[in-house]
């Protein structure tokens, strides 16, 4: 047997194609490129939105015009020309589906390729899925089952029409329109997204899930997710994404707001697998996402993310721990390969007494990629007995990549207890040798070691996602020997 060398592995890795890089020819209804007030009014009109929503969008647009693109992140990229993007693209003649049989077969084929075949999941996993293609929600399954419990799970557009009181009350409360450049842009032009409301004391019986896909060329995806868990409720929410392989860069600027009222718990898991660009660094998705959750008394928000895709990622899922005894958690695995750049982390803002937060971040960089952790732990003067534990570990594979850690810790209360630790290392040759000795080939050994390195985070994922995430990790990394 010829020796499987590092170069072989590298080659294999480079040629490994992005599996989700197909393009589905679905007739779609796309607005002309450019961004101005007319476009925003047109989007709003197309969505048949009430007047308050149009006003809200225009206000956000006005504020966005005064803002400038942030430059502090540790990523380098050519700024997208926001006037060259179409801000609305939807599968045309969108009918209202009641069951999957009515769905365009072409679309169903797309799901099959994605491996999230809707009906399969419907039968087996018992996961309610909301599928968003080019930021328009096309299918929501299990609606009736959820309805019985009083759970609202629908597209944002539908929620604006049918539950305006809820949307109006909560939208923009956690992430204000002016929060940052991309959040403001999203507020102005978002085309759809998911809305979820769990009533008081209800434990959502199944995992809720949204699948995002950018299909059309020259479009940006701007979806908005709002999850409200009323007092004492529980929900676990999953999010997945993919995009076709294209030479150009596509922009994804989403906003996710979570609101956990007293005693509620929200678990939000993401497996992000946007097209990362080819091995020369061409194309790929720019992923500029704002995610934030608000915890009232005794509430808990847990973010879990597996980041394997995107050419450039800029994402900080955060928790505002406003209520007493509230808990925030952040578990993340970020894998970068080839020319990918990720600047990701979290913010834990401790405002209430006895608030606790945990941050576990695992960064794996290979190829020529750059992987940064950027986090903030802030303890306000009122946050007595706040507790934080952060751990950021980086694994470097190959000598052309970089791993960076930028933790910010700001403490204004003497009773706070904060611990932060970070390590950077490579896969030890002795570890690989040990595996080889026992008949495990190098490639498998790396998968094993990386899996072990990421275990703490993988364990936090719901079953269905954990399997997918594990596979993704193997695919993204297989072939990179340290």
């Amino acid at each position: 047997m010829s020796k499987y060398t590092e170069d072989d592995l590298k080659k294999e890795l480079e040629t490994k194609e992005y599996e989700y890089g197909f393009y589905t020819d679905i007739e779609s209804d796309t607005l002309p490129v450019g961004l101005n007030e007319e476009i925003i009014i047109a989007i709003s009109k197309k969505k048949e939105e009430p007047e308050w929503m149009t006003e809200w969008r225009l206000d956000a647009f006005k504020k966005w015009k005064e803002m400038s693109e942030p430059e502090w992140a540790n990523v380098k990229y050519e700024k997208p020309d926001l006037q060259k993007i179409s801000y609305y693209s939807a599968p045309s003649n969108k009918p209202k589906y009641n069951s999957l049989d009515e769905v365009d077969p072409e679309l169903l084929e797309t799901f099959k390729k994605l491996g999230i075949s809707v009906d399969e999941q419907k039968k087996l996993a018992g996961v309610a899925v909301d599928v968003v293609i080019d930021s328009v929600s096309v299918a929501t399954s299990f609606k009736d089952t959820l309805k019985e419990k009083g759970i609202i799970f629908c597209s944002m557009n539908e929620a604006i029409k049918e539950h305006p009181e809820l949307v109006k009350k909560y939208i923009g409360t956690v992430i204000p329109k002016t929060d940052n450049y991309y959040a403001a842009l999203n507020s102005a032009v978002f085309s759809d997204g998911s809305f979820c409301y769990i009533p008081k004391g209800v434990k959502c019986p199944m995992e809720l899930s949204t699948y995002f896909r950018i299909n059309e060329a020259g479009t940006g995806q701007f979806e908005r997710t709002l999850v409200v868990a009323d007092k004492g409720s529980y929900v676990s929410y999953l999010e997945g994404c993919s995009a076709p392989s294209r030479d150009e860069n596509q922009l994804h600027a989403a906003v996710v707001e979570l609101i956990a009222l007293d005693d509620a718990e929200i678990k939000y898991s993401t497996v992000q697998n946007w097209f990362p660009g080819d091995s020369d660094g061409n194309g790929g998705v720019f992923n500029f996402v704002t995610k934030r959750g608000l915890c009232e008394n005794n509430a808990k928000i847990s973010w879990t993310q597996v980041e394997t895709g995107s050419a450039v990622t800029w994402k900080y899922p955060s928790c505002v721990l406003k209520g007493k005894n509230s808990v925030g958690e952040f578990y993340s695995i970020a894998v970068t390969n080839n020319f990918q750049q990720a600047d990701t982390g979290t913010k834990m803002i401790h405002l209430g007494e006895n608030t606790k937060s945990t941050i576990i971040s695992k960064g794996i960089s290979a190829g020529k990629s750059q992987n940064s952790y950027r986090g903030l732990v802030q303890i306000s003067p009122r946050a007595k007995n706040a507790r934080n534990f952060s751990q950021c570990d980086s694994l470097l594979i190959g000598n052309e990549c970089g791993a960076h850690t930028f933790p910010y810790i700001e403490t204004k209360n003497k009773s706070a207890q904060i611990e932060h630790e970070a390590t950077t290392s490579k896969i030890g040759e002795d570890q690989i040798f040990y595996c080889n000795q026992r008949g495990i080939d190098t490639e498998k050994a790396i998968a094993l070691i990386v899996n072990g390195f990421s275990k703490e985070v993988l364990n936090k994922l719901p079953m269905e996602f954990a399997v997918e995430a594990q596979k993704l990790l193997e695919i993204s990394l297989e072939g990179s020997v340290g």
């Binding site: 303890i379 700001e410 706070a416 207890q417 611990e419 630790e421 970070a422 290392s425």
Partner: protein, 438 residues
């Protein structure tokens, strides 16, 4: 701020007029003042100054050159010296070299002052090779460069082990005025040489004093440099200390910074490792209260393989004090087998104290061992109870615990007299009368 800037710019012309305009340094100064004019003073908008504002400090009506200076006797300054150890002394009073208080030498090495090095042609080569070569060209350092005329000049040639430590002390007596000083140190340590340096800035004035100090330190092949900074100034004195260290292969540089006094203290420390097998150690103890502000901004730049760096900063913050730690470790692609450790531990003992800490790692090489740890907490209540149950009063028990917390850093101090002095200052600071010489 702008007022002060204008004043500085206009006084530069007068300052430069008295100097030799044909000299090599003149060109550097002129360039530096232009940089300062462009960059100005740092503001909170700069990432590196995010947690430290100079606004209040720069608001005083500073004189750049004191109008009158007080003659000091040895008895006036004795308590600020570490006097129980034989040492070379370079002492400045109000920016002027005080020869009767100092003890310098030209015997086999130069332990003297910068102004004489700048004015004597035999030092021209050294000045041209080393002066302003590694200092950062930012606003605050350029300001110092523009006005740099006096400070310590230490040049140790090859294979010399300096027999006793060197104390460099700057006093300011400013009677009726606030003064803004720009001392400049140039330290060149030759191959295989060893030296210990103790540095201190002390105000004896009732008025505000601001010191913007720049030190350039060159550690040549296999040299060993031990550097101690004692910062225990009066509450109306502020210090911006910029230290730039350049290390060659197999050299060993260690710095201990004791930040125990002053209104605002900002330490900009930057170490560049230019060769293989270099050791860099930087440790710090910060104990402050009231409205004091201490900011440690460190950078260790690993450029070559097989080097180690070790950082340990401990802080205890009371009153309304603010502590900042911004430690950066950068590992270049070439610097394989780097071993970098960074630790920052803080204790808050008051409800109004703040600590902002940002330990950063930027790593471009894969075969490295880099870790950092950072904690914020309070004293262990159980340990306190244990001590009190054995009859130790609360105040002393607290002091013992705090001392224990900071002790690890003191353990690596090489001169026992320095250690004792720091112990005394800490005991005084914590308001107890116990000797910590355990």
């Amino acid at each position: 701020m702008t007022q002060l800037k204008e004043k500085l710019l206009s006084s530069f012309i007068a300052f430069e007029d008295q100097k030799d305009i044909d000299s090599y340094v003149h060109g550097i100064r002129t360039k530096a003042i232009k940089t300062f004019e462009k960059e100005g003073f740092p503001t909170k908008k700069l990432e590196n100054w995010k947690y430290t504002s100079l606004k209040k400090t720069l608001n005083y009506d500073y004189k750049l050159f004191p109008s009158e200076t007080k003659a000091l006797e040895f008895k006036d300054i004795k308590k600020y010296l570490i006097d129980d150890v034989e040492s070379y002394k370079i002492i400045f009073v109000d920016g002027k070299y005080s020869s009767h208080l100092s003890e310098t030498t030209h015997d086999g090495m130069d332990i003297c002052i910068l102004s004489s090095a700048l004015n004597q042609s035999k030092y021209d080569l050294l000045i041209e090779n080393y002066f302003d070569k590694i200092s950062k060209k930012d606003g605050i350092t350029s300001l110092n460069t523009a006005f740099s005329s006096e400070g310590s000049f230490i040049h140790i040639p090859k294979n010399v082990q300096v027999d006793k430590p060197i104390q460099v002390i700057y006093f300011s007596t400013g009677k009726n005025e606030s003064v803004f000083y720009q001392p400049r140190n140039l330290i060149i340590v030759g191959e295989n040489s060893q030296v210990e340096i103790i540095e201190r800035h002390q105000s004896l004035s009732e008025n505000s004093v601001l010191v913007n100090s720049v030190s350039e330190i060159y550690c040549n092949v296999r040299s060993v440099v031990k550097h101690y900074k004692v910062q225990n100034d009066k509450i109306n004195a502020s210090l911006i200390d910029n230290t730039f260290v350049s290390q060659e292969r197999n050299s060993d540089y260690s710095l201990h910074t004791f930040s125990l006094g002053g209104e605002l203290t900002r330490n900009n420390l930057s170490i560049a490792q230019n060769g293989e097998r270099i050791e860099s150690t930087i440790n710090g103890i910060t104990i402050i209260g009231e409205n004091q502000h201490v900011d440690h901004n460190t950078l260790i730049h690993h450029k070559k393989p097989n080097c180690n760096s070790y950082q340990d900063y401990k802080g205890i913050f009371g009153g309304n004090s603010v502590g900042v730690f911004n430690g950066q470790v950068m590992v270049e692609k070439e610097a394989q087998k780097t071993n970098a450790f960074q630790s920052n531990n803080n204790v808050l003992i008051s409800d109004k104290a703040t600590i902002n800490t940002k330990p950063q790692l930027e790593i471009f090489a894969d075969d490295v061992k880099c870790s950092h740890g950072c904690t914020v907490g309070q004293l262990d209540q159980n340990a306190l109870f244990y001590l009190r149950s054995r009859g130790i009063p609360e105040k002393e028990a607290t002091a013992l615990l705090m001392y224990g917390f900071a002790n690890k850093v003191l353990g690596s101090v090489g001169i026992p007299q320095v250690k004792n002095r720091i112990n005394d200052i800490i005991a005084k600071k914590l308001g107890v009368k116990i000797g910590f010489d355990i």
